[in-house]
């Protein structure tokens, strides 16, 4: 099909011969707008057919046939002593093993990521619950926030500054 459509230029030769002698004096151009039914759907059909056949069905068939003939499915066997199988070695067909190895994440990784995610979400949930309870109590008692400790006390800094000034007066620089 790809071959035939490239031979279309050869069809152009036959239209030039069929012309009447009286009106064949080429004095001006006579460009005609040929009113034809739309060939859009037919062209689109050919495009889609080429696309799905040449880029879809044929490569997939070739890959799957080679995988089945030259590699073949695996044989179920006991796990040897002291050996930890990789996560892609739990699948049978070579294409599935390939996809599991190179495309997808390992199931253990996904599992541990999800565990970490729900742990953090649970921490946030507990914080939100606490803040909500505090707000409720403030509303109930017409109260306000008061922190029960001061992070830094300036008193000790003042004491040590005074001691340092006194030492400087004794020792000099």
């Amino acid at each position: 099909m790809v071959v035939f459509s490239s031979l279309r230029p050869l069809l152009r030769f036959q239209t030039n011969i069929i012309k009447n002698a009286a009106i064949s004096r080429p004095m001006s151009e006579h460009r005609v707008f040929n009113i034809t039914p739309s060939r859009w759907q037919w062209n689109r059909f050919k495009d889609l057919l080429h696309f799905y056949l040449l880029l879809g069905i044929i490569p997939c068939t070739v890959v799957v046939t080679c995988a089945n003939i030259f590699i073949g499915p695996a044989t179920l066997s006991e796990i040897p002593e002291g050996y930890e199988p990789k996560y892609w070695e739990y699948y049978r067909h070579p294409v599935t093993r390939f996809i599991a190895r190179y495309i997808f994440n390992s199931p253990q990784q996904d599992y541990e990521k999800y565990l970490a995610f729900i742990f953090m979400e649970d921490e946030r949930r507990k914080l939100r619950k606490l803040t909500k309870e505090v707000k409720r109590k403030i509303a109930e008692r017409n109260d306000y926030q008061a922190y029960f400790y001061r992070p830094v006390l300036a008193k000790y800094h003042r004491v040590s500054r005074e001691a340092a000034d006194y030492l400087e007066t004794i020792r000099g620089d």
Binding site: F70, G72, Y90, I118
Partner: protein, 161 residues
């Protein structure tokens, strides 16, 4: 089961037709496919046991999730075991056709017992259930048994002497 010897010309004819239709596929498989295939292993994944739902603290979401996934795996395993027992019983019935009532009774008893146990543990929980609802079902069953005796012996009324 090995192929039985053809008893008459009709069976011989059908055997020959089957052989003719299968021969190209068998030839391709034995001469082209199998010599080129490599042999390499695949394994059956064994999961470590994690603490079950009754050993988790109530605010430990991670423990909940691990117990839940373990519960789902165990449920799949139990369902498969039940399928195998069911297949065994049905194969026995089909094979022993006229006198299956006597020959298949032990398998039938085994299958019925397994079904009852499966239903006691997993049945009637609904589609959207998890390990916690199953655990609560067990709790309710034990409470009911404490009040009314074993399941299947009827409820005692509220009037107690």
């Amino acid at each position: 089961m090995p192929e039985a010897e053809p008893r008459n010309i009709v069976e011989k004819f059908f055997n020959t037709v089957g052989y003719i239709l299968q021969a190209p596929t068998v030839w391709v498989r034995e001469k082209i496919v199998e010599p080129n295939q490599k042999s390499y292993p695949w394994y059956h994944q064994k999961f470590r046991r994690v603490p079950t739902i009754d050993e988790c603290y109530t605010d430990d979401v991670v423990c909940y999730y691990e117990a839940d996934t373990q519960y789902r795996r165990d449920k799949q395993v139990d369902s498969e075991i039940l399928s195998i027992l069911r297949d065994r019983f049905e194969d026995c019935v089909m094979y022993e056709a006229p006198d299956h009532l006597e020959r298949c009774t032990p398998l039938h008893k085994q299958y019925e017992e397994a079904t009852t146990n499966w239903f006691t543990k997993y049945g009637d929980l609904g589609a959207y259930h998890n390990a916690k609802t199953c655990y609560m079902k067990q709790k309710h069953r034990l409470l009911w048994e404490r009040r009314h005796g074993p399941v299947g012996t009827g409820m005692k009324s509220d009037l107690s002497e």
